[in-house]
Amino acid sequence: MGEPPLIQVSALRVGFASRSGRVVEVLRGVDLEVRRGETVGIVGESGSGKSTLLLAAMGYLKRGLRTIEGSARFDGTDLLSLPRHELERIRGRRLALIPQNSGQSLTPNLRIEAQVAEVLRLHGTRPAGQNRERVRELLAQVRLPDPDAIARRYPHELSGGQQQRVAIAMALAGEPEALLLDEPTTGLDVTTQAHVLDLLSDLAAQLGTTMVYVSHDLGAIARVCARVAVMYGGEIVLDGDARRVLVEPAHPYARGLLASIPRLAGGALPAALEGRPPEPGGAGPGCAFADRCALAIDACRTTRPALAARPDGTLARCLRPDAVADLAPRAGARAAPDASTHDRGQALALSRLAVSYARQGLVDQLLGRPAGGPRTVDGIDLALREGEAVALVGESGSGKSTILKAIAGLVPRADGTIALGDGIALAPDVARRGPGELRAVQLVFQNPDESLNPRHDVATILAQPLGLYFGLSGEALRRRSVELLEQVRLGAHYLDRLPAQLSGGEKQRVAIARAFAAAPRVVLCDEVTSALDVSVQAAVLALLDALRRDSGTTFVFVSHDLAVVRAIADRVAVLYQGRICELGPVGAVYASPSHPYTEALMAAVLDPVPGARPRLLADDVQESAPPAQGCPFQRRCHRRVGDICATDAPPAREAGDGHVIRCHIPVEELRALQRAEAPGHGRR
């Protein structure tokens, strides 16, 4: 403890003046010390103040924010009171930031070499003559293949993961003592994220760089950080060793947060945290979490707890930390996949569905030929029974959303048929569908900010389908709207609210209510929880599951999150480049992911367990188009057998109980290979 901390934020209060002149505190007295060489993660949900804290640590406050009290010191100097030119000497050279969306922080019209060299000119530690080699050295250090070629490219020629690596290389250029990371892997695919995190944790170990890592993703934090601080309502509520914070947290919020994360190994619905976090400035005199806390006593609402040391070495901001251990782990209430769906009728059938985004050339048009090139989505055969939930899983570009849009009639299909249960074929274009067919298929979008008209209040939003499909108006319309709101656990008082007056979870509930207003047979859900915080996500997942059970509606879920799929779906189809690789009951697929791509995908998933190390099977190259023939995964496959993969489409191999794997290697052989080479595989 002899050495002073490298980063020391003390009693920092940051706020902005609201329209009414009141000061709204975004950070309400934050203390954080980071010693040299430490890796500290800061987790919290949106609005918890974690990004504000990170930026304050480098002496930056967003426009409108100002320091009310406290300091943010770096190596003894308070950055918040430092003049600009002195700040510039520290930032980039001794203290570097890696922002969330690096693709947007790179200049599009400069080659990578020029951008990295620019940082070297400003903050480099070596003579300018060596910049050329140094750029390549840095690119190699962040494990970019062929640094020479990468240096000559423009940002748009790199994949998201590669762009993020370049951003890391630029941050490392000044050989900083500390790296500040703001959600560096959010928005990347699972396999890419695993690679970037692997790199970060190796860099921390090799270079001894101090890291402060802000994320909402406990899994990512667990992978990189040795110490974790949990933020809630603008203050740190728990701070300590990752093994303690992520396993046996001594704060009820941290415990609730952990419980709300769906686990790959679990299978049950995660337990939701009821209520919503306080708005900035909305916390009362007591504990910010008191309103949502199962342990809250009267004192919690009047006394603000201090951050106090616990016997296990962590710091917790709680009046009843000893009671936290007794909090019963509330398991989610989801039964095993409904066996009874087996004998139910068919709800939706896709047969040889294909979609092509390729444009027909003039010659093709004249000759009446279809557009050339491989189709974006091809050969999708999928039959859904009444009340069944099937998930389409894959990384970005896998065509999963395209399939949903084709079912909804928003994207023209190149081939194949889509039929409702009783054999009613759905027209390819939504404009040609009859009222009954329109009503039967409803969509819920990923981002409720986008899918709800900002100028419509909730009553108007719900009136659209109710008026269109059922001709409801007046009192009948109101009664039905309230019924729908109650179905999604919202009250009648929400009717006259605008989307801007709702929280993210509430907006998504309204979007779900709007879909259910049609009394649909099939609901298509496009990443419906990925824009939500984890604790809110758990509640929305529980709601969808309950709605499915009550109404017997069939669900198609599209998701990139394998743990979410595990919690909510009966069957899962793993997609790569618009083709199904593996299809089967959730239990079977997750217990033995057999297709090499499924295997790589599952291995890359991060559970919030300290020390968990995802296995990196396939490389993280993003492919922009499927191969012309053969297996879609051939170029990245770690089990490629030979030319047959490039020439022949893999056969569908049955593994029992409707579990189908499309691979040239027989299922038994695949499983034997996995067992032989991965002794650590038992962790799942």
Partner: protein, 287 residues
């Protein structure tokens, strides 16, 4: 629609809390009030001529002096905006309505029709407006019945562009996709999903069009194609007083100040309205 009402109250409050909005809106409201009330409050008959008082300097009897026919300049200036304000106040909403609806339709529909019509719009905008308007006025005469539709037609054309651009920002949103997926027809999508979101841009555009139209109307009068004597009109008054500018500047100055204060007022108010509504006028194309 209580929520909607409260939004407009907020916008109005924000409009008047800005110096530009307060000054601009006050100028505009004062002009409109004057145009309505002037026949009852002006001190003289606007067409009473007097050979004894030609081009008299401002005095206690004639605060702003008299013109070349001995008419009271104050009276004529106070009443000189009536024609201009009435004509443009009818033509502006018409221009915004037809240009807005067509622009939204094109923005939503896209395709060939959009391509062709937008090139026609470009061609139209490349010709000087005064030529096109003079052609119509010479053919059909200069009554209100001709001026209103003519102004509304020509000033609706640039609105097409604004509405189309604003629509492009909205059609890609998921709520429009959601409405299509539900099976709503195009008119319903325009009316319910798109219009509320481009209305702000159209309102600001309308305010701007109004000031341009006033200028155009006064220019026509100035050239002798608008209001006919002896009805008082700023454009006409400026044209008449132009030759006596050196010996009797008051006769020309009064209508110039009146017209400019209204146009400056509209511009200030439009600017503040854009800020209050959150529309970025700096990013909007100007024609």
């Amino acid at each position: 629609m209580t929520r909607g009402a409260s939004r407009w109250r907020g916008v109005a409050r924000s409009l008047f809390s800005r110096p530009s909005g307060a000054i601009g809106a006050t100028l505009v409201l004062a002009h409109v009030a004057l145009a309505v009330a002037s026949p009852w409050i002006v001190p003289y008959d606007f067409k009473a001529i007097s050979a004894a008082m030609i081009l008299d300097a401002p005095s206690v009897a004639h605060w702003l002096g008299t013109d070349q026919l001995g008419r009271d300049v104050l009276t004529r200036t106070a009443m000189g905006g009536r024609q201009a304000i009435v004509v443009t106040a009818i033509a502006t909403p018409l221009a915004v309505a037809w240009g807005g609806i067509l622009g939204i339709w094109l923005g939503l529909a896209g395709g060939r029709l959009d391509d062709v019509l937008m090139r026609v719009v470009d061609a139209f905008l490349s010709l000087p407006w005064i030529l096109k308007m003079l052609l119509i006025i010479v053919t059909f005469g200069a009554g209100i019945g001709v001026l209103v539709p003519t102004l509304a037609f020509f000033y609706g054309i640039p609105v097409i562009r604004i509405a189309r651009a604003a629509t492009h920002g909205v059609v890609a949103r998921d709520y429009v996709l959601a409405a299509r997926a539900r099976g709503h027809g195009r008119p319903a999508i325009i009316l319910r999903e798109i219009l509320p979101n481009v209305l702000d841009a159209l309102m600001v555009e309308g305010a701007m069009r109004w000031s341009w139209m006033l200028l155009a109307f006064s220019s026509l009068s100035f050239l002798g194609f608008g209001v006919s004597p002896p009805t008082p009109d700023w454009g006409l008054m400026i044209a008449d007083a132009r030759s006596f500018m050196a010996i009797a500047p008051w006769a020309g100055l009064a209508p110039v100040v009146a017209l400019s204060s209204l146009i400056v007022g509209i511009n200030l108010a439009a600017d503040a309205l854009a800020k209050a509504l959150g529309v970025d006028r700096a990013a909007a194309p100007v024609h």
